[in-house]
Subunit: 260 residues, 4 copies
């Protein structure tokens, strides 16, 4: 069976910051979140490639992106550094069928916002509080084998209102100790592509060491993985399929130059 080709993209900035906070992040992710996730998520049906913003082609040169089935995206302080042309290439590939799993602060990434069309803002607080997730759609593939509710001991709070389109299917919702709630796992379809947003994953806590989070990410990768990647060619259809009897008042007038 063909493996799913997964690329994990990370801006890879916080892990290299100097000082106490950088030290804390490095304790959880000594090689960077992308490399950690690559080994954390290793399974037989996945071929995982960790990449980062500082690599050639910002980590996603054509030859890599064009063979990617599912892209995971972790970004936070360097959203603005990602080239618009790269965002456009990713956008096109998602619409053609590539899966996209957007992690934590990626809600404000260019690629997520360009796919949603909305502001994607939310409320937030860094107080290391407890987050409790609930499975809202027990039958959804991304909820498979997860308990009805599970806890992440310390997380940055992400809260409503969250500006996303209303057709996102809510798979997880979160309760925060400090009084907030959030749609923390939401599944979208855009053209042929499937997109999953999952909010837990703040860099200063060991969220990506949690077995339930691992299960969510593996489920999300398998759910967003495409059967086929196909940029549907939608072209003119000059010949009618059924007989046209209306006398076109423009018959004989050449309008082609207006519609190249």
């Amino acid at each position: 069976m063909k493996k799913i080709s997964v690329v994990i993209w990370n801006e890879f900035v916080h892990e290299r910051e100097e000082g106490t906070v950088g030290d804390i992040i490095r304790r959880h992710y000594p090689e960077g979140i992308h490399r950690h996730l690559a080994s954390f998520l290793a399974e037989e049906d996945l071929e995982i490639t960790p990449v980062s913003l500082d690599m050639p082609g910002q980590g996603l040169p054509d030859e890599l992106l064009n063979g990617t089935d599912v892209l995971l995206w972790w970004g936070h302080c360097a959203h603005g550094a990602v080239d618009d042309a790269l965002v456009e290439r990713i956008h096109k590939r998602v619409l053609a069928g590539m899966g996209l799993v957007v992690l934590h602060s990626g809600h404000l990434s260019k690629i997520f916002r360009s796919l949603m069309g909305t502001a994607c803002r939310l409320r937030w607080r860094e107080a290391g509080e407890k987050e409790r997730l609930w499975v809202v759609s027990p039958g959804h593939p991304v909820a498979r084998d997860l308990p009805e509710t599970f806890v992440i001991p310390h997380q940055e709070m992400y809260g409503e209102p969250f500006d996303i389109p209303q057709d996102g299917k809510i798979v997880f919702m979160s309760w925060f100790e400090g009084g907030n709630i959030f749609r923390s796992g939401v599944a979208f379809e855009r053209d042929r592509g499937r997109i999953f947003y999952f909010s837990p994953g703040h860099e200063t806590y060991p969220v990506y060491h949690d077995p339930n989070v691992r299960r969510v990410l593996l489920n999300a990768i398998r759910w967003t993985a495409p059967d086929v990647i196909a940029a549907d060619r939608v072209t003119p259809m000059p010949k009618p399929l059924e007989k046209i009897c209306s006398a076109d008042p423009l018959a004989g007038v050449d309008t082609a130059h207006l519609h190249k």
Copy 2:
């Protein structure tokens, strides 16, 4: 009662083309589609301003856009000429509540595609064939006072598949003589803004002289008009609303510089 401030934006290119086709378009819209629509749609509750791409600020300087309740958009061959910065300003205002009515070839405009997040492609054919519209959602405000079905004698065919998000509420669907069908009137909500796409309106036929089309456009303007325009300030929420008992492992560590 406060009037609805409506701006009708037109790229205003085809109406000034030389040759036979230009002559035909000018016969229908001697002053341009925008000025024609401004008088065609005149009603007591509307304050209408027609503008075009060749005007200062591409027709939408800040002082005008910031007072606009509903924007109508007609564009076709000059989509690429619209400044990205203007598109971003319009996008923000739509998300804050401004109504947007996208006409005909505007399905490929930057503003529509940036709000949808999808490719917005479709099938098309210029054969002057008959288009028959059907009201699919009889209770929707944009369908008010319209017959169950009505005909536009000659139109460019726009056909499925049409790449739009699935949460668009279909108000009209079209039958074309040549064998195609199309979701020709679709209503979207994005954050606080309402968006209506209406496909009839090819420049070489007198579509915007049709009384049913007039009814659709007036309904769409009134449905998309906002109660309030408000760019929701979604800011951090540093103080918890409920008591946090978890001991934050980061207590005392200053992470502020990471999250400007």
Copy 3:
């Protein structure tokens, strides 16, 4: 201006129970929840009629229902006592445009379940805990003039998973002190009718004395109120609108008796 004709239906059982709990409920609603709501919600544009299950026609005889614009529904332990024929009449009127506001335990009422088509189950707990509501869709008419978040000091917990269709627009989500979350205010459209479900309202706490709850209910009444109530006659359409050239292999065969 024509007033909105509002009927508040209450099963009116708990308020007449003997014993301590009955006493507590009567302290909050001495005349019954329906009569309390009728005076609590009194506004100039509303004509409010409180009714209950023990009245003739189970409170909703034809002549009353046929003039109702918006129906509020409070039921809990007597769902099974409501006649199926009455449910069917209400169902038809909602599909024709009548607004329906379903309160608290009404999620399991026959009328709500028949409109949703899903199981409408949820998790619950009676511990008198704090419920905190959040406005998730700030631009929705039912959220008008409400603060971003507000508290109900004591409530029965209603928690996810909640089995409702995914096209409900979430206006409010709730945080519960005991660790649960819930989609507590959800807006649906079914044919011509608008439906709003609002979960706060447990009978043993004075929820319907809260000014924010009052604001929600008034907004919900005005949002669900119809422009027109019209049972669309969808009938056969024997005459084609366009010429049919296919030779029908059944031409001349009388099939009418099969399709009365």
Copy 4:
């Protein structure tokens, strides 16, 4: 690999009518539509059982229904004869995960209407006209391996407006020679169950001999087939998951008898 257990239910009335029309139907389906479909759809991964209304348990006794993965439903003139109790059992099993494929006139069956919650009416005409289907969602599993458009030479016309909820994903839309259009293939999710409605299939034409229709039905069976069938037990949750500090004004009062 475990086979998908498919039951094809047919009211089996028209095929046994006397007279010319009955003769025509019998020419296409001498053993009844259900038995024809059972052999027409035979594939290695499917275990197909054809049943009909006149069989014990109206064709769906508990022991059969409880082992069914996907149910196909063909009904027209005998909708009213199906027992409400059977409809309720099917309804429950769909919500628990069983797939349901509703064919042609099944739009007015009790089971489809009870899952939709809407009126499910449409326009219709028997003129043997040509129906042309279009794939509207090319990436949807039910559209797999189908051409962009295909024709059914003679069909009963089914036309808009069609009263169904707006969250149905439109996979096919139809063009009719006589001027109508229709959402002819729509995919729904209700709790754990997937539902596909497909309108072609009038009994007097050999629609279920068409290879494209075969492809649609096989795709629909495989798409609606469940991973798991699980009636989620949603029960009270008496113990809070997080500490409750609010002093419950009802502490010490026994309310259990009110909430059996």
